[in-house]
């Protein structure tokens, strides 16, 4: 009798999560939970100013405090050639400032002490004399003639421009605009945001002089990249570095880069020969670690009267802060921004992108996003709605007119990406049906008669997830493949390790399900381990929704290698030739005599106890998977809202999500990812942003000002699915972790814009705070959210 795949926790089973057993008992093992013998504690002194020359640093009083073991400044770092470190985008970043500070919150000094309270006391005792310099908080200021030069440390850097880049067909796009009936334009700012996992960043560096081995426990989504980076930066031999990423309290892209705190804790441990723990406070996390977005769009669409899009022209100005440290692995300067409009059949498109330095924290991390895809899809869907309105065509119909058709795959987009699968029209239909589109339009018209403002917003998009293929994607030259190693023990139990790193996605649960699907070994019999570079195979980590597309594929492929070897063992056990053997889930049998068979577990036992001549013993293997293409999930998000004209407050009435992420390994976990993503989308649309005043002070440096929604404000979500398997992924899966964060914001914003339609307002920048909506309603003009924010003195 064949195994029931769902019962053994295989593909499609909403298997309860393995990792929960420790989390619900408070037995998770996060970096700050780890205590090593003799461990010291590090705290960082940060700059209160956004741009200033450092005139002097006096650490005398800090050294004098009992319990202080070490005080480090930029000078200490420089003595080891560690004052600067390379970023993931081929720039440099100060570890501890030597010459000047370039953003508020920049790391200036560190204290290592017996406990963190003493370390904090000593930080306060350090006296730094600053000479303030003029501050830049947006691209306009950065590009103004005579603007102060932020990166005067770099030779040949004569202005504040990081890059100037273009992609697409300029001439073809110009022709499309010349032929257009209507040109629709939009100016937007996608505000600076922060991934803000509840667990901040931190590390424990433990250098053992006796063995010369450096072990670092670190909040990292990509431990192997960190190992490579530490080897390069600290000039330590790679085999003498062990990075362990234990349980992570969320990541969302925040825990991809290398941060000064990590480097400082490592040097401190080397100098003191004791373990040094650094746990960042929330303010430090919000003001200094990887921000996301902060990008301005000028967008234009060439349209034909009947609704056909003829061409798209976009220019972006992106604000990268003081150091260009975007964590993105493509050769494209502005990430995958040009994946914009991938779900629409656009004849011609052209994108120019300019990046600038400002006096703000560096980062440019892909916050629950595949390298600027969030901005790309937000711009796309806001432009689409504006275009539909400009043409007077229903927003759903306008999308349908321009979607890539189901029979048009593979489809080469105007910017050169290859999309490979999808049922866009069907997803939209499911969404419209679920939200009750026609009914709502009637309801909205009815409500309008009583002065009530109802609106509906749609966002549809396909996005490239799962970098990469090694031709186009690498980090510092390291190719974006991923890996899995599977060891099947003699009793048929197994341990699987991958190069990915779960931070809440549930890899310990889902990877075992792929093994169960491929080998018929019950998922409960498979242990999954990740995050320890001494034991896990080399991989690029977890971000950009790449785990299932890449590491997940490697899990399937290594399982198939194991099955191939098990087949040889089965032939031996069944005394037939391999060609006479058939496979069904968990069992090989003789084709001509199906009753004669051996289970995968029996094969495993034979691998260690009864190996035929000429075959290696053991049943373990590894696989490195280099995907042929990105995966292209599709999503349709529809929100309905009501705006209170008296206050500008808006409430979500309904939110429907239709996701097509191909085959779902664990539907329960997939739905959890979607709901989490939708919440972050709602957060960005409604309240979550980091801004700066004219002096470069960060407004949003803690959870009193950087607002994350609670259970109370967060709307309920209704989820639907469509399944179009990925044609190149071994089990047909596509990425999903980020779709809702990427596609969701435009649905909410479009809904609010729809509610106030007809008063001549084209845009309100996110977040749609009540005062911005009210201003748009009453003043009837667009509302910009660009910094500096106006802050009256009291």
């Amino acid at each position: 009798m064949q195994l029931d795949e769902i019962k053994i926790g295989g593909l499609g089973a909403s298997r309860r999560r393995v990792e929960d057993n420790r989390f619900i008992r408070g037995k998770g093992n996060y970096v700050d939970d780890i205590v090593l013998p003799g461990m010291l504690h590090m705290e960082i002194l940060r700059s209160p100013l956004a741009h200033a020359r450092i005139k002097s640093i006096d650490t005398t009083k800090a050294w004098a405090i009992p319990g202080v073991r070490l005080v480090m400044t930029g000078e200490t770092m420089a003595s080891r050639n560690l004052a600067w470190m390379p970023t993931l985008s081929y720039d440099t970043q100060a570890v501890l400032a030597t010459d000047k500070v370039r953003f508020q919150g920049q790391e200036v000094a560190c204290v290592i002490a017996d406990d963190p309270y003493i370390a904090k006391d000593a930080c306060e005792a350090i006296v730094v004399e600053y000479e303030p310099l003029p501050v830049i908080v947006n691209p306009q200021q950065a590009l103004a003639p005579g603007a102060p030069l932020i990166r005067d440390d770099k030779e040949n850097q004569l202005d504040n421009v990081v890059f100037d880049w273009a992609v697409g067909d300029k001439d073809g796009t110009d022709r499309a605009f010349a032929a257009a009936d209507v040109v629709s334009k939009l100016e937007l700012h996608y505000p600076r945001s922060h991934p803000s996992p509840l667990e901040s960043c931190g590390s424990i560096a433990d250098f053992d002089r006796a063995t010369s081995k450096l072990t670092v426990y670190m909040t990292t989504q990509a431990p192997h990249i960190i190992r490579a980076a530490v080897a390069l930066v600290a000039e330590l031999p790679e085999h003498m570095i062990r990075i362990i990423s234990p349980d992570l309290g969320g990541g969302f892209g925040n825990k991809v880069p290398v941060y000064p705190g990590y480097v400082a804790s490592i040097l401190a441990s080397i100098l003191l020969e004791r373990p040094v723990k650094w746990i960042e406070d929330k303010t430090g996390n919000l003001i200094s670690t990887g921000f996301a977005r902060d990008i301005y769009l000028h967008g234009e669409m060439a349209l034909r009267k009947d609704g056909k899009i003829l061409g798209v022209r976009m220019h972006t100005d992106s604000d990268h802060g003081a150091f260009f440290s975007d964590a993105q692995p493509s050769k494209f300067k502005i990430g995958l921004m040009h994946s914009t409009f991938a779900c629409y059949d656009i004849p011609a498109a052209h994108l120019t992108a300019r990046g600038v330095y400002t006096n703000k924290a560096p980062g440019g991390v892909a916050y629950r996003c595949s390298f600027r895809v969030t901005e790309a899809m937000f711009f796309q869907e806001r432009m689409v709605q504006a275009a539909a309105d400009d043409l007077g065509i229903d927003q759903a119909e306008f999308r349908r007119i321009n979607f890539v058709r189901d029979d048009d795959f593979p489809h080469r987009t105007a910017f050169g990406f290859l999309t490979d699968s999808g049922q866009y029209g069907k997803c939209l239909d499911v969404g419209l049906e679920a939200i009750g589109y026609q009914d709502f339009l009637r309801q909205k018209a009815e409500a309008a008669k009583q002065g009530r403002l109802l609106g509906i917003g749609i966002s549809t998009m396909t996005e490239p997830l799962g970098a990469g293929n090694s031709r186009e994607y690498d980090i510092l030259g390291i190719k974006m493949f991923d890996s899995a190693e599977l060891r099947v023990h003699m009793t048929g139990k197994a341990i699987l390790r991958t190069g990915a790193k779960s931070q809440g996605q549930g890899h310990e649960t889902t990877w075992a399900q792929i093994v169960a699907h491929e080998l018929g070994i019950p998922a409960d019999d498979v242990t999954v381990e990740e995050g320890d570079t001494d034991t896990a195979p080399f991989g690029m980590g977890t971000y950009a929704s790449r785990s299932t597309p890449v590491a997940g594929a490697a899990v399937a492929m290594v399982s198939r290698k194991i099955r191939a070897k098990a087949r040889k063992l089965a032939a031996h056990l069944l005394e037939v030739s391999e060609e006479d053997i058939e496979w069904e889930l968990g069992r090989f049998y003789v084709r001509s005599s199906p009753d004669r068979g051996v289970t995968i577990q029996e094969c495993a036992m034979a691998a260690y106890s009864n190996v035929p001549d000429g075959l290696e013993p053991g049943l373990e293997n590894n696989a490195y998977y280099d995907p042929p293409n990105l995966t292209w999930p599709f999503a349709c998000y529809i929100a309905t809202v009501e705006v209170d004209p008296g206050t500008g407050v808006w409430d979500v009435l309904n939110m429907v999500a239709v996701d097509d992420c191909g085959v779902r390994i664990n539907p329960m976990i997939v739905e959890g990812q979607i709901m989490g993503g939708l919440t972050e989308a709602y957060a960005m649309a409604s309240m979550q942003f980091i801004t700066f005043d004219a002096e470069g002070n960060c407004v949003g440096s803690n959870f009193m000002d950087y607002l994350l929604p609670t259970a109370w404000e967060t709307p309920g979500f209704e989820l639907h699915e469509v399944v179009t398997p990925c044609p190149h992924h071994p089990i047909g899966a596509k990425g999903i972790g980020e779709c809702a964060t990427v596609g969701g914001p435009a649905a909410f914003v479009n809904a609010v814009m729809d509610a106030i339609k007809g008063i001549g307002v084209r845009n309100i920048d996110m977040p749609l705070l009540p005062d911005r909506v009210y201003e748009a309603l009453t003043e009837r003009h667009d509302v910009s959210g660009a910094p500096p924010v106006k802050m009256d003195d009291r």
Binding site: E43, P116, Y117, K120, D121, E124, D281, K282, T283, G646, T647, G648, V649, S686, M687, T691, V699, G700, N702, M704, D705, L707, L708, P709, T710, W712, E713, L769, P770, D771, Y774, E775, V789, K790, M791, D792, D793, R794
Partner: protein, 291 residues
């Protein structure tokens, strides 16, 4: 995240607490619910030499109503006690409306109304409510007790007229002379956010006529604002669309908001007026809605 060092005392009597405050000579802070003070210690916005923890003082956790209708709230009465109070729900609409909007549910388990008043945060909710109600606190110092109207308590942001060796031991809401009405509206972007704007209104009506009115404004000035003129516009007759409009206008004028990331000054002023209108039109017997 790590407070600096301080001396910690947990007195067992009010007298002992006052003696300690006196001894502290202005460098001591009173620790009640701690939901504002402890975060300030953690961020090192405050580094007092001594903390006088009053949580062990007996008999200060009361919420009671005297026979004449006076409401008394002890220094250790928590926000959650006020939120759950059936008594307030039945008799004091302004307080009942405000109690669930203070901070978040867990903070409410610990924070106190009296502590909130003494913290003197212009964005605090209770000060507006108590100003609207004409409430006062009772402060005890080495020389005895005195009453301080909440309207007179704040000197500026985070500053009160309390002497360094005075301890606020209770807050008092005088007995109403008519039927109590009113409410509290707060514009916050999410639970636990500080008020962008908060408006507290308390009125008393007798024979259809407003005989007492108070309006307090949260978050629109350097201190909580007592909108005296706006409240005055409601007196002497029934609530009508006209009186409500007048009060709304005067309240907006009384506000001294500043522009910040929570909104422009113009917007905040508008919200004051909108909230005054909304609270007053929802008062039972209000004639405002008909207009």
């Amino acid at each position: 995240m790590y407070p600096s060092r301080f001396r910690y005392e947990a007195p067992r009597s009010v007298e002992e607490a006052i003696a300690l405050l006196h001894q502290g000579g202005g460098e001591a802070k009173v620790l009640a619910g701690g939901q504002s003070l402890v975060p300030m210690l953690k961020l090192r916005f405050a580094s007092p030499e001594m903390l006088v923890d009053i949580n062990n003082l007996p008999g200060l956790d009361y919420l009671r109503v005297d026979a004449d209708g006076t409401i008394r709230i002890g220094a250790l009465c928590r926000h959650a006690d006020l939120e759950k109070s059936t008594l307030l729900a039945a008799h004091q609409p302004t307080m009942a409306a405000a109690a669930p909007l203070v901070a978040d549910p867990i903070v409410r388990n610990r924070g106190t109304l009296v502590g909130s008043l003494c913290h003197a945060d212009p964005q605090g909710d209770w000060a507006s409510v108590m100003i609207a109600l004409g409430g006062h606190i009772v402060a005890q110092g080495p020389k005895g007790r005195r009453k301080i109207a909440v309207a007179d308590l704040m000197k500026g942001p985070f500053q009160t007229v309390l002497a360094y060796d005075e301890l606020a031991i209770e807050a008092v809401v005088p007995a109403p002379k008519g039927v109590a009405g009113g409410g509290y509206l707060k514009l916050e972007r999410r639970v636990g956010d500080f008020a962008t704007v908060g408006v507290a209104i308390a009125i008393e009506t007798s024979a259809g006529s407003v005989i007492r009115a108070g309006i307090g404004l949260t978050g629109v000035g350097g201190s909580t604002i007592n909108a005296v003129d706006a409240a005055g516009a409601l007196l002497g007759g029934p609530l009508t669309a006209d009186t409500i409009a007048r009060a709304s206008e005067l309240a907006a004028q009384a506000a001294q908001p500043r522009s910040d990331h929570r909104g422009s000054a113009t917007y905040k002023r508008h919200i004051v007026s909108t909230f005054v209108t909304r609270i007053l039109t929802s008062v039972p017997d209000s004639k405002g809605k008909a207009a």
